[in-house]
């Protein structure tokens, strides 16, 4: 490593799109019987992956191998699991387990040494039961759950590195991330911040696509315009009210 490598490239930030989350499948009675703990109802996989999905695959995300900048991912499971802290040092960065309940998983990402960055902590709520329109969790009976297929809960995010070291930057640019597909090819992953996507999220393995970014931007922009219009309306009403108030005050003053 030459000394010039350990120079920070100022005025530059570089990010990598990732997704984290889980998939869960309900277990059949037969499968459950073969488990050591037969009260477990689901098999789930929690993972940290690149955002784009590999072609012709049934997996959400993970087109790129992230080990070029991630050294280790630690999944901290519920304390009731044996050795709840699972360190994953090589890709795929994921843990598959069985269980019966949803809980918060702490995901800790350690970057490679060249990055000279601290570990990053994410929180994911393990999702076992299907999404509902109302947002209220409900646990369907086994047959329904089996029929509905796997449950997906994924969060897109971006890891941003500011002023990276030259050699780390070189490493990153040597691995450009697979871009998200431009248009929707598969169902989109459901997200609580977009309940409107409930219908669109049905029907098989979801996939993130670039259109989701602009769609969300549009949604936010539309909402902002609506809010501004509403504020305007309220303001006009306020002006009227104040005039009215002025009038009745005057009436009072006149009488007194």
């Amino acid at each position: 490593m030459s000394s010039s490598d350990r120079v920070r490239v100022r005025g530059l930030s570089i990010y990598r799109p990732i997704i984290y989350g889980n998939t869960a499948v309900a277990l059949t009675q037969k499968e459950r019987d073969s488990l050591t703990s037969p009260d477990h109802t689901h098999r789930w996989t929690v993972a940290v992956r690149s955002a784009a999905s590999p072609p012709n695959s049934d997996q959400v995300g993970g087109a790129d191998d992230l080990s070029y900048f991630i050294k280790r991912v630690t999944f901290k499971l519920h304390d009731t699991y044996p050795s709840p802290t699972r360190n994953i040092d090589k890709p795929p960065f994921e843990v598959t387990e069985t269980g019966w309940g949803e809980f918060e998983i702490i995901i800790r990402i350690t970057f490679i040494q060249e990055a000279a960055e601290k570990t990053m902590t994410l929180l994911h709520h393990l999702k076992l039961h299907p999404w509902t329109v109302s947002g209220e969790p409900e646990i369907p009976p086994l047959e329904v759950a089996l029929k509905a297929g796997p449950v997906h809960s994924w969060q897109y995010d971006e890891i941003v590195f500011n002023d990276p070291f030259q050699n780390f930057l070189n490493l990153l640019t040597a691995h450009p991330p697979t871009p998200l597909p431009k248009a929707k090819r598969k169902p989109i992953p459901f997200h609580l911040a977009n309940p409107g996507s409930f219908e669109e999220s049905k029907g098989g393995t979801p996939e993130f696509h670039a259109g989701m970014i602009s769609e969300e931007a549009e949604r936010l922009d539309d909402a902002r315009k609506k809010i501004i219009a509403e504020t305007e309306r309220l303001r006009n009403e306020l002006i009227q009210k104040e005039a009215e108030l002025e009038k009745s005050k005057k009436l009072l003053a006149d009488g007194a």
Binding site: L122, E158, L172, N194, L245, K249
Partner: protein
């Protein structure tokens, strides 16, 4: 003769012309075998071996080669009339066009990418009063800098923005269609000036998702210098409206100026020569060299003279006399975006920011790597939090989470949060005004001789019920438009001083309460 030419070449270490000619160039004919047309043999033989350059000049200009059409080898390309979908159309209209049969059927409509919409700028009332309202500042400007800012009202500004979007920024159309009241007296520049200044102020005062360079580039692209533009138009008008006499006079004056300049230069040169002969080689007039350049700042080179004069005589308005228009200066300021590097940055997800020019770059602590969604702003105001949450839920959005937390979307969410907060503030004010009105109405009602009823309602049980009643009616009216009703019904209900106290939120009313209480005491 022939020897001398090659000698000179070798002396000046110039390459031999025949050696330089690459394989792509046709071999020059031997000088002795052929002579070009239009040159006598005697003269030609005098030229010697350096002839290729001369021959090239003398030789007939060759015409462009005729394009070779269907040579019989490849058959004509097959074209088909196919329907296509323009992905930028919202109405899903199906049109047909001719495409090569070899093109794939589901290729994206290639012209869809040119359908670029101007970004829509909107502003809230709050932003308007804070940044955009010029009517108040006018007074201060009047005595200072003069009438630079015309008094724009909110309605006019709204109307201007509506027009801008309706006609997609085509200023001449906008100006043609705009119907401002005649006393405003706006001309095209005023409209442009207002529009661009509003946009600039909005960008400057809002949270910006991208880097500072992008922001300043955007602001620069929205730069509009109204004075310069007006001056440019004045110049153009005066240039257009010159009479023949004026033209002739200008011509004469110009020649006169040229003559004077030449005389002066000659005079200077002579002076310099004289000085040199008297005082030696190193002396002279140092400024003479620089002075040789541009006369009057009109033409960059005297050589252009003839051409330029022709255009002016020919009434063509090639406007070297006018300053460059705002339009061209805008495009010049625009940062030349290196498309290749932009593509590279997009591919590698790189965002470049302008470095602070000071030394702070070295001093500043390194900002550690972060996850983008951590930049989503927190809900600060606790009392407002539930209301913010509620309005976000109504819109089907979340104030703290995003599906795709990209840099732009985080910034968008921040803007939305601000707008929602502003709306809730307004609503709070409105509610307060409502209460105040109710209070006043009650006071009025009380004065109109309903005091007896008020005395009957003195027990606490009834009081709380009353208070709840008011709240309920009030909540209902929050949702719908008809606030007037609630006020009407309430004014008829019994009056209670204690109830009034509960709504004692406006200080200005305090005195009135006191008066009312005093009045009740007296009448009791």
């Amino acid at each position: 003769m022939a020897a001398s030419a090659s000698d000179i070449r070798s002396a000046l270490s110039l390459p031999d012309p025949s050696a330089v000619a690459g394989p792509s160039q046709p071999k020059k004919p031997a000088p002795t075998t052929r002579k070009p047309e239009g040159i006598s043999r005697e003269l030609y033989s005098l030229i010697g071996p350096s002839q290729p350059s001369v021959a090239a000049q003398v030789a007939k200009p060759r015409l462009k080669q005729k394009p070779r059409f269907a040579t019989g080898i490849s058959s004509a390309t097959k074209w088909e009339l196919k329907s296509f979908q323009n992905s930028t159309r919202k109405d899903g209209l199906q049109l047909k066009h001719w495409v090569k049969a070899s093109d794939s059927v589901d290729a994206e409509y290639p012209f869809a990418k040119y359908n670029i919409q101007n970004p829509v700028y909107t502003y809230s009332q709050d932003e308007y009063t804070r940044f955009l309202d010029t009517s108040n500042r006018l007074a201060t400007l009047k005595d200072g800098k003069g009438e630079l800012e015309k008094p724009w009202t909110k309605e006019w500004t709204d109307y201007l923005f509506k027009l801008y979007h309706e006609y997609d920024g085509r200023w001449h159309v906008i100006w043609d269609r705009a119907e401002f009241p005649p006393e405003a007296g706006f001309d095209l520049e005023d409209l442009k000036h207002r529009y661009y200044s509003v946009c600039r102020k909005l960008i400057r005062n809002r949270p910006w998702p991208g880097d500072e360079a992008g922001r300043s580039a955007l602001i620069n692209s929205l730069q509009f210098d109204i004075e310069r533009e007006q001056m440019r138009k004045r110049y153009l008008v005066s240039l257009e409206s010159r009479t023949a006499d004026q033209l002739a006079e200008e011509e004469a004056l110009y020649l006169e100026v040229r003559r004077l300049e030449q005389t002066e230069r000659r005079f200077k040169r002579e002076r310099e020569d004289l000085l040199r002969t008297l005082a030696g080689m190193d002396s002279g007039l140092p400024y003479l060299v620089e002075d040789n350049g541009v006369p009057l700042g009109i033409f960059s080179e005297p050589r252009n003279l003839n051409k330029k004069r022709k255009t002016i005589v020919g009434q063509e308005i090639d406007s070297p006399l006018t300053p460059s228009g705002a339009g061209s200066s805008v495009s010049a300021i625009k940062r030349p975006q290196n498309t290749k590097s932009a593509a590279y940055d997009a591919q590698h997800c790189i965002i470049r920011t302008e470095l602070p020019s000071s030394t702070s770059a070295t001093k500043a602590a390194h900002q550690p790597a972060y996850i983008r969604s951590s930049k989503i702003p927190y809900l600060k105001n606790n009392s407002m939090q539930s209301k913010v949450l509620q309005s976000f839920a109504e819109m089907g959005l979340s104030p703290s989470r995003l599906v795709m937390p990209t840099k732009e979307n985080v910034a968008q969410l921040e803007g939305l949060l601000e707008a929602v907060t502003a709306m809730l503030e307004t609503k709070k004010l409105l509610d307060k005004a409502d209460h105040d009105i109710q209070v006043s109405k009650k006071q009025l009602a009380m004065r109109n001789g309903q005091l007896e009823d008020g005395e009957g309602d003195g027990e606490p049980g009834v009081k709380t019920e009353e208070a709840m009643d008011v709240d309920q009616t009030h909540d209902e009216t929050d949702g719908n438009e008809g606030r007037g009703h609630s006020v009407g019904t309430l004014s008829e209900s019994a009056f209670d001083v204690n109830l009034l106290r509960g709504y004692k939120c406006n200080e200005s009313l305090d005195t009135e309460y006191k008066a009312a209480e005093a009045w009740i005491e007296v009448s009791q």
